[in-house]
Assembly symmetry: D2
Homo-oligomer: 348 residues x 4
């Protein structure tokens, strides 16, 4: 008996449709998840608004979404460790475990990665914005009783922030700058605070996201569009910050950040942009590092654990929830940085 | 009794004069070195050709030079460890040991650094291109018997290469790309080979320096102006190289290098340039690092030790030697990459 | 005019006297601190009970104490940054900044270290258990308004815990075992929790200190004298813990810890003991590391900052306070692990 | 048609027999290697002399051997990259690639490892001392033309030395002590020298192996049974060496090594022993690290590459070669440290 489910399929820029699709079958080692909540990510927005980003474009209809949590509705006979009724966050990442990077412990660099809702390969990997999802049992991480599904849906972007922190090295005693307070930025603020940064300063050009950064752990915030002298105030003795988590993808943010970094400071670059101009002599003279951070791996289970234990309150990150049927409205709002941080879709 | 000495003083672009100057007095802890050989560095060339680089410009007459070796002619009564007649390489770096960076073990980031022949601060720190030099005993590292003064004069630029290697992390099993085969580039090739890189590939746009890179340890060389497909040939499976030592300061070299780096690869940036455009998305997606490397510190003694023990033959690096009186001709030749690698001045 | 002050002088094992001494004079760069609170450390107890530990024995009368906080009563004319009336924690560590280890950024390994109340060198370095203390302005770190002097006196042992955490590498996602819940152990628990350990399990053979460990951040505690199967329960798949902070100096604790460590796990050894027997084959086969951690340096200012900001509540660590005059009673109680954790002396 | 081959089977201590066995069949992805040379390892000797070591004992007849090289005689139809006639070194390590440690990039810690000639699991993993060996194509690394089979047989123990060096961190400018000059020790000397150690000092209690250490790269050697003052001579200023590669498994060697290590020095422990007593206070006070190193993984291909390129001359390591039929005599000689270093068996 074939299962059908409802999904959010992108056909072309702004042409996002709620439609029926084949839900697939539950194979060995797999489970069926009744999706509860799903968060709209910046990459979903790029597909929605522009049909992709950089060289990555949708070439065929694709289900969006990779930040979901739900309830297990069925399990294959050979599955252990996941049971019907379990509430789970679903890891959208599916490395091959056979390529050289998987063998080196770098599955996020897998040469044959499958990641929900991504047009990086063709045929595209279909996404998780649907009410029924067949996935591997090992992608499911259990949510603790009492944790709302909406927080569990933050596990994926929070993992991105945690991975960035792990790329930064130990934060003990470190002064951390986080530039760009979109969802990744504020979750990076939370991740840095949780791992002992001595100070976490968040910057943005809009006040509303800065207020949320403050709620999840920023020591102080700077609206760099208004406080024009902020670079000068943080440049004495070659600079103030040990670590920067660059979440904006903005050239000016990166360049200003390099100015206020101390010698040997580490900039972890998460934000995606295009070509950016950097001052080579300053990088050399202060021996700065710029280190890319891409997705995550082991951090997904850690993100769920932290949310389960309530070690940090991420509720301020979720600003709105829409029913699946109102997806287009949800996507339109999600791009408004004054009103929305993380917008969730309710698939239940 | 005042000592006088002869020096090479830059007054304005291309206005380099052999003239007399006060040699100073030997204070406590100091020695007098009769300078033998001195190497012309890229920064010396910038002062000679353009009066400086970037924001650093000569504002008053300045003695050039910071790559020198010589023979100790006198020592203060309190000096131990250095004796008259010792042949020594002179470390041009003089950190304060009192600032926060010195206290953190980063003397090359000293807030009050004095470095021979540098216009970074005003009054400028006078350089070492002179026949008599008063310096601190602790700046002197003894040259082994039989080591020619010309090789000892390479200790400073070799230190720069060694410091870059130390910034790259362990090279065991690593494939290393060195871009830009000026004196720093070829000495970086030597340093990488000496520290166990599995492969060292050197690139440049001129054949002659590549031939020298081959002599000091490159596994193979690529003239990237001719082998246009070199990037494509090294990009499979996300890239070939683990480490890049970027010694050109050239934007194209850096960008091509990022293409051929493996995920998690480390680019050590030594070459000075201006603003360069880098592909932010590639840095993120491959989790690359770009790390500045500036001068050196502990590596100076190591450079002399390696030269003393003859563990690598650096003689191919020195291409010409001119008497001090012919300094202008030496400087003019030093900029010709087809004919000259390291040009030395003989002060004896 | 000579100043006199009252101090706690050890003359021989258990012969601890409250007596008058010369308070010294305030030299350039120095301040006079009216000591408020001082904590009794394990080394103080060793001097009191046994006249020393290992090869370190008191050879002449010595003022004890190195964990003190107080109020600045006078400052030398050249001092900036510290003012009369400032409440300060006093860093008992005084490196030379001239030896090779200081120049490498390892001042805690200084070859000419002076550390309050230590018989490591002769003449001994006199301690800080006195009502008036002349020290260098740079040893003083300001306490925030409202922070009780009793918490400020914890800055030194807390620094030891923070240094151990910095030796362990990043704790993100790590399961941490802390063995031995004396004052250093419970402060190491707090330090690990504050720097993001995914789990902190504290062990001891006495229940009372375990209860305090729980209060300052342990995820769970194990009385290893009672739960005999704890090693077996944590040994599956080669072991459970990524990091161990060994604070007991006990051979059995270390050996059991090695059993429950995962491959590549890191044991940070803080606890002092004598010769201990370790299973070489297990260290090899699981590629475990045992890393010593000694005192601290930069962590002192960090400890005060964390206490100032109230980022963790360390009040449960202080169990009793005695007036200076009752020092002998205080020292006698301080050794009773069922009743006392950190015992303070009030010098005001 | 079933293949039969000749092998060296251990039945009980000293009961080593040349006998016939089933050679197995070539499955998908597999090749048949006609074994040329095989080196006798310390663990082979333990099985031969004592029936095992520690808790690992032979419980059933087992073919010995894991250091072999040979010529490919047949390949499965699906194999690419290995061809009939290829001369190859055979990696004896076969991790599962499915357990958590394999997924973390630590295959040498695999929970389901199969390693030739090991009684760690029962049924034992049969070894490679036989004239015909069926193995996976991916275990084969090609030997360059002209490289003798005898040097290729060193790839496995050389990998162990290279892995130890990779555990030590960068060796640039480091002074390295290697204690115990058995085959692993001298190959560790070679590995350290090749990766740029500033000095490599080898110690042993027998002169003959020290002479071989000198030939493969030791800067100097010390017979610690004769030069009784060697510890005192290397203990000034808290110690001389930055890195120790402990290859003896001897308690005294380790303890003396800790004495002569500088603060923050790293001891890489490769030698297997039993319980050893270490001075806890010295580990703490000098902040020393003892880090286990077990087998290898990526280093096997690197070892073959280095041997192929002739970057170091390992010929002095091989002291004798015996035909397979004289295996008992070979094993008897292999234990005599005055006469034998690495003894090879010829299976051709």
């Amino acid at each position: 008996m074939k299962m059908r489910c409802m999904c959010l399929m992108i056909h072309a820029p702004t042409d996002l449709r709620v439609e029926e699709m084949d839900a697939g079958e539950i194979g060995p080692g797999q489970v069926l998840v009744r999706v509860g909540m799903g968060g709209i990510c910046g990459s979903d927005l790029h597909y929605f608004n522009h049909g992709g980003f950089g060289a990555i474009r949708i070439k065929e209809p694709m289900v969006l979404g990779h930040e979901v949590a739900g309830t297990v509705a069925a399990v294959a006979p050979d599955v252990t460790g996941v049971r019907i009724g379990d509430r789970v966050a679903v890891n959208p990442s599916h490395p091959c475990w056979n390529c050289k990077f998987c063998h080196e412990g770098l599955p996020n660099q897998c040469l044959d990665m499958r990641y929900y809702g991504s047009a990086m390969r063709t045929p595209h990997v279909q996404g998780a914005f649907r009410n029924l999802l067949v996935c591997n049992a090992e992608q499911c991480v259990q949510i603790a009783p009492g944790v709302p599904m909406s927080l569990a849906a933050l596990a994926e972007p929070f993992s991105v922030g945690l991975h960035a922190v792990s790329r930064a090295g130990p934060l003990i005693g470190k002064r951390v700058l986080v530039s760009g307070c979109g969802p990744i930025g504020v979750l990076a603020v939370a991740a840095a605070r949780l791992h002992g940064a001595a100070e976490v300063v968040a910057t943005d050009v809009v006040d509303e996201p800065l207020a949320i950064a403050q709620k999840v752990g920023a020591s102080r915030t700077i609206n760099v569009a208004q406080e024009k002298d902020w670079v000068a105030r943080h440049s004495a003795d070659k600079g103030t910050f040990d670590v920067m988590l660059e979440c904006s993808g903005n050239e000016r943010a990166l360049r200003d950040g390099l100015e206020v970094m101390r010698p040997r400071g580490v900039v972890v670059q998460l934000g995606l942009g295009g070509d950016v101009s950097v001052p080579q002599n300053m990088i050399v003279a202060k021996e700065l590092s710029i280190c890319g951070s891409f997705r995550f791996h082991a951090e997904f289970a850690l993100a769920v654990q932290i949310i389960n234990e309530g070690r940090i309150d991420l509720r301020p990150v979720v600003t709105q929830t829409f029913p699946m049927q109102d997806a287009v409205a949800a996507f339109q709002l999600a791009g408004d940085r004054k009103r929305a941080m993380k917008v969730l879709l309710d698939f239940a």
